[in-house]
């Protein structure tokens, strides 16, 4: 079985995001970038499946500018076999990304596509679902456990009520939760080896898909500042405040 795993380059989760003064977006100049955290879980799961003999090849793919290759490089350093970089200028919306990925799926013919459950930059959690839809494949989203049983995939999903277990047929798309596994560290020799592996570059335009923006971004702004808390003297006061001031009970 071949697994395609999708990785995205985003602002590192430790960095405090700064909104541009004109509201057109956020500052990314010289900001530390990293692989989207749940994408690391997707890579880890793919590599684990390969180590367990369930998969033969793991191909890591990213969509982005030249520097997005770093995320593929990192996937190669922890065990992915090959890399694909779809080069674009500027942003791509979830639907555009799904269309690009569909082309890559048609080319690579994997039986399983793994993605992070959502990217921590736009937080849309749509790419995996859209990809499954336009491929006409089953999907298992927010997976915290994965098991391959012959041609069937058992997925335990993180849902609001707790855990949901589903069975889907392969080929399938699965989006990965942070609880799925513990991503490994890349070792120094493996990073060195990964530097030498080649990454196939595809220009997004050459794929012949319409990735024009369909959404218009009006404004990016900081969330309102959180007001400081207060100390209450009694339970009665607390109840009163929750009822009359905060109006939550």
């Amino acid at each position: 079985m071949k697994i395609l795993v999708v990785v995205k380059r985003v602002i590192d989760y430790n960095v405090q995001i700064r909104v541009k003064e004109d509201g057109s977006g956020v500052h990314t100049d010289n900001v530390k970038m990293s692989t989207n955290p749940p994408d690391d879980n997707a890579v880890e799961e793919a590599v684990k499946l390969k180590e367990a003999g369930k998969a033969k090849e793991v191909v890591a793919v990213t969509i982005g500018d030249e520097k997005a290759q770093e995320t593929v490089r990192k996937a190669l350093a922890v065990g992915a076999d090959r890399g694909v970089h779809v080069k674009i200028e500027g942003d791509v919306e979830p639907l555009g990304a799904a269309k690009i990925l569909k082309k890559i799926v048609e080319k690579e013919k994997p039986e399983l596509v793994l993605l992070g459950k959502q990217a921590i930059d736009d937080d849309t959690a749509q790419r995996g679902q859209m990809l499954a839809a336009i491929l006409g494949w089953p999907q298992g989203t927010f997976a915290s456990k994965l098991e391959i049983k012959n041609k069937v995939l058992e997925v335990i999903r993180e849902v609001d009520e707790g855990l949901e277990t589903i069975e889907i047929n392969l080929p399938a798309v699965v989006t990965c939760d942070l609880r799925l596994n513990e991503p490994r560290y890349a070792s120094l020799p493996n990073i060195m080896k990964a530097k030498k592996k080649s990454i196939e570059q595809i220009i997004a335009k050459d794929l012949g898909v319409d990735i024009a923006h369909r959404l218009q971004q009006l404004k990016v702004e900081e969330p309102p500042k959180r007001k400081g808390g207060i100390k209450v003297t009694s339970v009665a006061e607390l109840v009163d405040k929750l009822k009359n001031e905060a109006k939550v009970i």
Binding site: D12, N14, V15, Q16, R18, E21, D29, N30, V31, K32, S34, E182, P183, R184, Y185, A186, S187, L188, P189, I191, M192, K195
Partner: protein, 535 residues
């Protein structure tokens, strides 16, 4: 089972200006050399913090076409000011009366972190392998006692040292020459100085703690290219320190404060002195209404030539501020760090080619401009041990009249950790509460540094005696770690000494200032610590 190992011609510890210059120069001299750099930060520049007004002398020598190659060295200094601050007043010192070392008209206001990122790109183009996120944690020795290389830290250990899922064993990097360029108070450099007695016959090293914030201000408050320094308030006459205020591009102001770690009063909080400094009317007016976008702190070297250890040892070189090449009266160390690295590269090439002893480093160093510069600067810092006013008078004579050529060398008498006086003999300092607009607390400041360390890893701030903080340091000095740490890593809670090591921004102040030298800073798991952007 022995760890995996790799062989290199040169292994460099730390991707700062010194280490990167070493690597670039090595590849320029001999493209066939195998060179790698280990860097503990998550990327090059993540742990770099500096003012910075940059003198291009070393860069001109290393990469003469830096302008064409797009180096982030762009904002030329256009105006200079020096202020003596009183609590409510200020006295502007005419710039023609400043010693020439403090004149900056040919220099640039830069972000050293960004310059390092650019130098790293140049190094990689030349074939240097750079590995961010991999701290060197151990020095390896050959049987004859010479340095064999370094080992990287094991990754994926829990607090008690047990292996977690995903554990990766560290790796050995062997080299013909290992170059240590960790910056001020490097934890391996400290071991080398002790093991090889590199500071024999030298004065104790002197340090400072430097703070920096980046502010975005309005057009009216901003004068691109303005460089301003202050001395005086809020520090008393006995405490050595001062501020810098640099107006960079993009309507940004780099503002910072440096305090000598030889201060005596254990109640002093360097962080709060910096915050208080911003409330001076002349400073406030430049920042008011603006937004603080970055914060950071780092210890720096102030000892100069008297305290500069021997920089070579069998199989290794100690360069940049890991040794201590900063020029204190010039308030600059980047160009000297770079030059010390370039000399290291020349030394290594000679050593590999002709089997010359690494001691030729010292000879080349002494013949270069870096030595002349540091020699002329040597008496400034020690003269301030007589207080600010006498220090200024002496420095005026020494630097303006004699241009650093006085035939005497003043000494640094004490190490910084010996300077503290007992808490009950010194006045308490009542610092104003932060207003959240101009002045801030430590919590909101550390948040801006992007600092994180993976939870459940061995604590990297080690106590030699875990009872000492409460049994002795708290009683005698009111546990000054609570105040000298710029981000509040150390707290005393209900007679318990708490170390919040996940907040550590790797400034090394505790390792320097702890009065009994009870705290040892070691490298935490790779990629931890601050994630500075444009510092």
């Amino acid at each position: 089972m022995p760890r995996e190992s790799m062989e290199y011609d040169a292994v460099i510890v730390g991707a700062g200006p010194a280490g990167l210059s070493t690597a670039i120069k090595l590849k320029q001299l001999d493209p066939n050399l195998n060179v790698c750099i280990l860097e503990k930060g998550s990327e090059v520049g993540a742990h770099i913090l500096s003012g910075n007004v940059f003198e291009t002398k070393a860069l001109d020598e290393l990469l003469p076409k830096w302008k064409e190659q797009g180096a982030p060295v762009k904002t030329k200094v256009s105006k200079e000011k020096f202020l003596f601050l009183g609590k409510k007043s200020s006295l502007s010192w005419p710039t023609w009366l400043l010693p020439s070392v403090q004149k900056n008209h040919n220099n640039y206001i830069i972000s050293l972190a960004n310059l390092c990122r650019w130098l790293a790109e140049q190094a990689e183009k030349l074939g240097v392998e750079i590995f961010p996120g991999f701290p060197a944690s151990e020095i390896l020795y050959k049987e004859d006692g010479s340095i064999k290389g370094v080992a990287t830290l094991d990754m994926g250990l829990d607090k008690k040292g047990n292996k977690k899922e995903g554990y990766q064993e560290g790796m050995e990097l062997h080299a013909k020459v290992t170059v240590f360029s960790e910056g001020c108070r490097g934890h391996l450099g400290k071991q080398l100085i002790k093991k090889f007695n590199l500071n024999e016959g030298k004065n104790p090293q002197q340090y400072g703690i430097g703070f920096k914030e980046i502010w975005e201000v309005s057009d009216q408050q901003h004068q691109e290219g303005l460089v301003m320094h202050t001395a005086g308030w809020p520090l008393d006459n006995k405490t050595y320190g001062g501020s810098f205020v640099y107006h960079a591009d993009k309507k940004q102001i780099y503002i910072g404060y440096v305090i000598g770690l030889d201060y005596q009063n254990p109640h002093l909080s360097p962080f709060d002195e910096f915050q208080r400094f911003k409330t001076h009317k002349d400073i406030k007016k430049m920042l008011e209404g603006g937004k603080r976008i970055s914060f950071g702190a780092r210890a720096l070297i102030e000892g100069g030539l008297q305290s500069l250890p021997k920089m070579y040892m069998p199989g290794g070189l100690l360069i940049g501020c890991d040794a201590g090449t900063l020029n204190m009266p010039k308030i600059k160390g980047s160009h000297t760090a770079m030059k010390s690295g370039m000399i290291a590269a020349e030394t290594i090439v000679e050593h590999i080619k002709n089997k010359t002893d690494l001691s030729i480093y010292e000879k080349t160093f002494k013949e270069s401009w870096i030595y002349k510069e540091l020699h002329a600067a040597r008496n400034v810092k020690p003269s301030f041990s007589w207080g600010l006013i006498l220090g200024i008078i002496f420095t005026g004579l020494d630097q303006i009249l004699f241009r650093g050529k006085l035939p005497l060398t003043l000494k640094h008498k004490h190490a910084d950790h010996e300077a503290l006086k007992p808490a009950n003999q010194m006045p308490k300092i009542d610092y104003p509460k932060p207003d959240g607009k101009l002045t801030f607390d430590k919590t909101s400041s550390v948040y801006l540094t992007g600092t994180n360390h993976i939870e459940n890893q061995p604590i990297h701030l080690q106590l030699k005696d875990s009872n000492l903080p409460i049994n002795y340091t708290l009683k005698e000095y009111d546990e000054p770690a609570q105040r000298y740490c710029p981000v509040g890593v150390y707290e005393v809670q209900k007679e318990k000494f708490v170390i919040n090591s996940q907040n550590c921004i790797h400034c090394k102040t505790c390792d320097i200032k702890e009065p009994s030298q009870n705290i040892t800073w070691v490298a935490p798991e790779g990629g931890g610590g601050p994630k500075y952007g444009n510092m």
